[in-house]
């Protein structure tokens, strides 16, 4: 049993520069499986809910899963769990690449960073041991440069890394941790790295990854590969589109369906969408698709170096969500700027979603006479559709310079400070800035943004169901069940640290099939999904204790205004519709009218009251 696990956790204390191994119990494995399950269980029991996210008492849990490093396709991601400086609740965030396999090869299922180093350090974990190395020379360095420095200095060719840039060091609340161009984007994990003076973590090991039933596992993997190949064989395959063009392949549809938030939700479609979509990038910049280990999709679009007016750079992406946040939301139709801004975000280590919303928020404040158009200094006009202003403001945010210091706190805190009605249009829930998609148009998105434990996050939303109109996007009917189901299932798949795209093809039974053959456990599809539900409730209880109550299951007032080009034949979101969505959701979840899980519900899920 459990051969696919290393059954060990490594605690790395940055304050006293020590480390300690601990066993992971059978009970823990059976109950929480791995990845997000391990991380949420550990954080909610070890970090008191009222802990300041930037306190040394906060911890960073870097988790891998039972399928990490195996031949199963689309399980190469790494999960980071910490207390978010943006939402103050628990955050789970993911990135692809090679880091997860390196961690497992080093012999661990979880790496925990605790305490705070007295100065900027990088930490390496190799077969030769663990090292804490002061690195004042890396202060302010771009992530990519810092990662390369650590690999070279360590002399370890197989090392994989995760690190931060200037934004993490400057405690930008939406700073990302970056692993070799892949971003742990949402929720400010990079800022927590920064608060601990942790610049880079590098890890290498000797690969020795087993499964409990090799023959059975091979069969399960073959079935999984067959399912992906069948999907990819069709020209109408979603993942096929991602592999050819990247996630930006969907912009044309989203724009056509009037759900492409434009000029700060004033419009639902963007006349310049075709200039910044995936196809435009493929035509304009030489591109090479890359994939994570064992991946069949290869959605990562590495672009060759290109000239822009701001300099010659290369980047990976941008992803669809960035085409929205720094593109349409800011009314930017300049692909060169988007290309450059995407690189800025990686270099500084910032979540492009929150970043774009903050830039757009500043532009909206100028439109409404709350901020000055001269706020960026001489030679710049802060206004929608101005690429130079966008590039300049991103630099200012990363450096916490001028107005950038205000926006580095995120739109929730910025609007609380600015007042003057800005909270009504600050695009955030629980402090987390909006992902793409429009609650005004899609009721499932409205429900998800309002209720998600991460805040206004798209990661567990029934977007395809609504966008492709398998259900009417403007109906409240059945939305609670739809949303709760996907929240539960995706949480469960994140215990395996699955790529989010896997669930677009595989059913819960197929995930359980892989898990069971790898681990020797015997999960049914229902048990697997219920584990996801238990994690959802565990996060909810923690967030409630952190002070994130039901009043924050809400949307800003701007979501109840009707965009100027709202399409005919659809109903915009109303307050009464929204009240129904939340009431239905609480009832379906087995929560009381205050959004608190009832004792009966907790007991049913096997959680302590």
């Amino acid at each position: 049993m459990y051969e696919c696990y290393k059954r060990k956790l490594l605690r790395i204390n940055l304050t006293d520069r020590t480390s300690k191994e601990e066993p992971i119990s059978e009970k823990m494995i059976q109950r929480w499986v791995g990845g997000m399950g391990f991380g949420v269980k550990l954080l909610t029991h070890e970090v008191p809910p009222t802990t300041d996210a930037f306190s040394p008492d906060n911890k960073i849990y870097i988790c891998v899963g039972p399928l990490t490093g195996t031949i199963a396709p689309l399980f190469a991601q790494t999960c980071i769990i910490t207390k978010s400086p943006l939402t103050t609740g628990v955050i789970n965030t993911y990135a692809g690449g090679q880091l997860a396999t390196a961690i497992k090869s080093a012999g661990y299922d979880v790496i925990v960073f605790e305490g705070k180093a007295d100065e900027l350090v990088y930490v390496t974990l190799t077969p030769g041991g663990i090292k804490f190395i002061n690195c004042p020379e890396l202060k302010g360095k771009p992530v990519r440069e810092a990662e390369e420095y650590v690999k070279t200095a360590s002399g370890c060719e197989d090392m994989h890394t995760v690190g931060i840039g200037l934004a993490g060091e400057n405690l930008i609340r939406y700073a990302a941790a970056i692993s070799e161009t892949r971003a742990f984007g949402r929720g400010g994990a990079g800022a927590v790295f920064g608060s601990k003076n942790l610049k880079v973590f590098g890890v290498a090991g000797i690969r020795d990854i087993k499964v409990s039933d090799p023959e059975g596992f091979e069969g399960a993997v073959e079935r999984t590969i067959a399912a992906f190949k069948e999907d990819l064989s069709h020209p109408w395959s979603l993942l096929g589109g991602f592999g050819r063009i990247g996630t930006g392949s969907g912009v044309a549809l989203i724009n056509d369906k009037h759900v492409f938030a434009t000029r700060y939700h004033k419009y639902t479609s963007f006349e310049h969408a075709h200039e910044i979509d995936g196809e435009a990038f493929m035509q304009k910049y030489e591109t090479h698709p890359i994939g994570c280990q064992s991946c069949l999709v290869h959605c990562g679009m590495i672009r060759k170096p290109a000239e822009t007016k701001w300099g010659t750079i290369w980047t990976r992406g941008p992803e669809y969500e960035t085409m929205y946040s720094i593109g349409s939301l800011c009314f930017n139709g300049d692909s060169d700027m988007l290309y450059y801004a995407n690189d800025q975000a990686e270099k500084y280590g910032m979540d492009t979603l929150s970043l774009g919303v903050n830039v757009a928020f500043a532009m909206e404040c100028v439109d409404r006479g709350i901020l000055s158009k001269d706020a960026l200094g001489e030679g710049y006009i802060l206004e929608f559709g101005n690429p130079d202003a966008t590039v300049r403001l991103i630099d200012m945010i990363a450096a916490r310079e001028g107005i950038g210091d205000l926006l580095a706190e995120g739109v929730k805190r910025a609007s609380e400070k600015l007042g003057r009605g800005t909270q009504d249009f600050a695009l955030q829930v629980k402090g987390m800035e909006f992902a793409a998609w429009m609650p005004e148009r899609m009721r499932g998105v409205a429900t998800t943004f309002a209720t998600a434990n991460r805040g206004a996050c798209h990661k567990r939303a029934p977007i395809g169901m609504e966008l492709m109109e398998f259900v009417p996007m403007d109906s409240t009917e059945g939305r609670a069940e739809l949303v709760a189901h996907i929240q539960n299932v995706v949480n469960a798949t994140f215990t395996l640290v699955s790529c989010r795209f896997a669930e677009f093809v595989l059913k819960p039974a197929q995930f359980a099939d892989l898990l069971n053959n790898a681990s020797g456990m015997n999960f049914t599809a229902e048990q697997f999904e219920q584990m996801g539900e238990a994690i959802w409730n565990m996060e909810r209880m923690y967030n409630l204790a952190a002070g994130i109550d039901a009043t924050q299951d809400s949307l800003p007032e701007i979501c109840f205004k009707v965009p100027l080009d709202f399409p005919e034949g659809y109903k915009p979101l109303t307050h009464s519709d929204f009240d129904i969505l939340i009431k239905d959701y609480y009832e379906y979840r087995g929560w009381d009218a205050n959004g608190t899980p009832t004792p009966e519900q907790l007991e049913k899920l096997g959680l302590k009251v």
Binding site: H234, P235, G241, I254, K257, V445, I463, F504
Partner: protein, 97 residues
């Protein structure tokens, strides 16, 4: 009547065009229009998209077909007569999170 059909993503390279304007008789259906479309696009688009949709009643290609900014979910819906001003596009599918 005239109908503009637009293509995006893979369907642009499969069809060999960004858009095409079809001259159609009044009251014709979308099925008639797609039959007419066969004469205009590259053979790959006919074999990979139009034949599965029109002759094999495969609902997969319906995921790509957007009429007046809406998806259809039954092949029978392509038998509804078109109206002047209708828009039809072949667009790659999308999911969110």
């Amino acid at each position: 009547m005239r109908l503009v059909v637009r293509f995006s993503g893979l369907f642009r390279s499969l069809s060999g065009m960004k858009e095409v304007t079809l001259d159609l008789r009044e009251e014709c259906t979308l099925r008639d229009a797609l039959q007419e479309l066969k004469k205009n696009v590259q053979p790959e688009f006919v074999t990979q998209i139009l034949i599965p949709l029109l002759e094999e009643n495969n609902t997969g290609p319906l995921r790509l077909l957007v009429k007046n900014h809406r998806h259809m979910h039954s092949v029978a819906e392509i038998d509804v007569p078109l109206k002047e001003g209708d828009t039809v596009s072949f667009l790659p599918p999308m999911e969110g999170g």
